[in-house]
């Protein structure tokens, strides 16, 4: 074997990398939802731009396994929602206000997706723990 840690320890570490990546994704999603109505502070300026998390698979050389990492968090380049609100302080010369390009339905589905992936990683950890327990049970009998 290429390194000292056992396959079980590596399974746990890989699943933990998945947990960390999904938790980072949840952070970005909550940022988007919290800022769903954050308009610009200046008149006619750009509001909050939705952020998109990216994942990448990387070879962890100490573990010798493919772990997942949260890559760069990129801005969503789609158009802002424009509403006609002349009395809003963020309105431009003709009374239009730009609202963030956050769609709460999309964020909700994304959140559920992150939740499921997180649960899947937790399942792997508990399955691995049970397998380790079985190994230790050989000693007891």
């Amino acid at each position: 074997m290429a390194n000292d840690s056992s396959d079980f320890a590596r399974s746990m570490a890989i699943a933990t990398s998945g947990l960390r990546a999904q938790a980072g994704r949840m952070r970005v999603i909550s940022e988007n939802i919290a800022n769903a109505d954050s308009t610009s502070q200046t008149s006619g300026g750009d509001p909050y731009r939705r952020k998109v998390p990216t994942f990448s698979s990387a070879l962890d050389r100490t573990l010798d396994a493919q772990v997942v990492t949260l890559g760069k968090i990129k801005p969503d380049q789609s158009n802002f929602r424009v509403k006609y609100e002349p009395n809003n302080p963020a309105a431009d010369a003709i009374g239009n206000v730009k609202y963030p390009n956050v769609n709460s339905v999309v964020e909700m589905t994304d959140m559920r997706d992150a939740q499921r992936s997180y649960e899947a990683n937790l399942n792997i950890i508990s399955a691995t723990r049970r397998m380790i327990q079985r190994t230790l049970d050989i000693l007891k009998s």
């Binding site: 998945g18 397998m131 079985r134 050989i138 009998s141």
Partner: protein
């Protein structure tokens, strides 16, 4: 002949090693279930002959490291054959991991491992009975 050379025990040990390594491969698949262009992998179950040795191929040969400062080649080394065509439906992002399937595989892997470990401890118990301490 040591206890470890008994066919039953060595076959069970190989099987347990295979389950451990499969668990690692499955957790790689699950943690990368949202990574674009990731293809899931799986291990091919080893075929054992009567003496408990593995027949057929035993995975790719490991590269020899001639100096301690050399890095290991990329791609996790495995002592069992890999099946790289595990995924059958690919999402638009190029990811072919099916979470339900991986969960099912992890559960069955765990149950088979439990079966192998209890068989192992029963065999040890049998030996104890034979020596007269059971």
């Amino acid at each position: 002949m040591s206890i470890n050379d008994l066919p039953v025990l060595s076959a069970l040990r190989t099987k347990m090693q295979w389950h451990q390594e499969r668990q690692r491969v499955l957790s790689e698949n699950v943690s990368n279930s949202d990574t674009p262009k990731f293809r899931p992998r799986d291990l091919v179950e080893p075929k054992l002959d009567k003496s408990g040795a593995v027949t057929g191929s035993m995975g790719p040969l490991a590269m020899t490291v001639t100096s301690a400062s050399h890095m290991t080649p990329s791609g996790a080394a495995s002592s069992f054959d890999q099946n790289k065509n595990a995924g059958f439906e690919t999402r638009p992002a190029g990811n072919a991991v099916n979470l339900e399937e991986e969960m099912m595989k992890a559960a069955s892997n765990q149950m088979d491992y439990a079966a192998a470990t209890s068989l192992y401890s029963k065999s040890l118990h049998l030996l104890k009975t034979a020596i007269g301490k059971g």
